[in-house]
Amino acid sequence: MNTQDALAARLQAMDELDQYDYFIDAALAASCPDIRRPEYQIRGCVSGLWVRAQLNGGRIEACADSDSLLIRGIAALICRIYTGMTTEEARCTPITFLDGLDLAGELDNTRRSGLRHMIQVIQSIA
């Protein structure tokens, strides 16, 4: 099982409030200083979302921040999945750990969340 599948299995086993606690923990553990700048902002996210993705020796380094702890936590988990991958690998790695969660529908609403846009930003750094 890869790390994303393990994460998905873990989340599936939790009730909704425990999932939120998990995302909040991830948010509090994440650190992404100096990123709240226009060039890093993902448009169209109601809760404010910033992501910085760069290549270091051909490997992705990504980190993100949000006003919302839940979004910041989820974004941090996404960044953790992509960090260390090549762009080629990232492009072949869809984010699946949120599938089936109650929150997924809400986050899929790109007009509101912008997480999908953030994933595209990470996958397309060259």
Partner: protein
Amino acid sequence: MSAVHFRRDFPFFQHHPETVFLDSAATAQKPQAVIDALTRFYAEDCAPVGRSAYKAARQADRRYRTARQTIARFLDADAAGIIFTKSATESANLLARAFARPKLCKGKNIVITAWEHNSNYLPWVEICRESGAELRVARPVSGPDFPVVLDTLTDEHTVLVSCTAASNVLGDTIPLAEISALCRQKQIPLALDGAQYVAHHPVDVQTLGCDFLFFSGHKVYGPTGSGVLYVRPELLDEMAPFLLGGGMICGDDPECYAPGAGRFEAGSPDTAAFIGLAAAIDYLNTLGRDAICIHEQALARQMQDGFRALSHRVQLLGQPAPDASVYTFVCPGAHPFDLACLLNGHGIAVRSGKMCAQHLFDALGQPLGGVRASLACYNTAEDLHRFFNGLEDALNRLQRK
């Protein structure tokens, strides 16, 4: 009659017994009587209205006419001034296009407030932009300020004041009688956005003294797709049709538009929706508007006491009236989206964000928006008890950092 009794009439709660529904300002649940009226129309009475002479069509016509009269009585208005639309949004757009737009040009102005929902903001932005007229946005700090700020901005070039009767964000009382007295004195037509008002207050357009009033049926326990624009009948002739099509001409003469409200109802109407809205009004009358008000006032008291008693720092926005039905709050360190998600984890349905009132949140200095809990007749003391427990728990989880 008790709240439990009200609640029993709403099948939603049989399907969602664990849900605390505090989003009625967005849309209200429907009583069985409304669902039955819709089903009955489609099952038994389905026929076109205003077009055909056969028996079923006449029956549909009768029901549709009765619905219009019921809706007119709900506003204490002349049925001749009731225009059916699909929503408050369509009503505001119709008002802007049909009444105001032909009167606008450079030098004229429209006055609204910063408390408006986008439905009563964007149509005015657009027609002012098109015509070169000025859109003046009054900025009251609280409910009692409305007459003064409106007085300052209105003048002899004001074509219309369009103002919310009750905000969808703040529960402040807006002094409607003073606003209408001001507009009457200055001879400026007044439109009221009643979307958040009519479900909670008996309405009488004569006493309110407004020239226009609009609302959405779905927020008054009626079906989606039903909206109303009340026009003081004498003003109907000043309005130019907005949508053109079948059913709006006199007889067979396409050059002649039907007199009165019919001119603004081109095309086949959503007959079932209006019959359903009339059923919602009948239902409210059966419960008794006074009984509902008393029940909602008790909920409002419990709500305000509950906010005061919270152990976390929670800021209620505005100054909710003793009978307020909407409560919007912010909490330091807790994003509204997160709070709404965590409350959902407790089975509590609330709204978060800026609620289509970005201007108001800017004025309030709340760039993240807020969380709104709104009340309706089917809410119970137990609902609010669960809401405050859920809110305490949500804040504990979010503020543990």
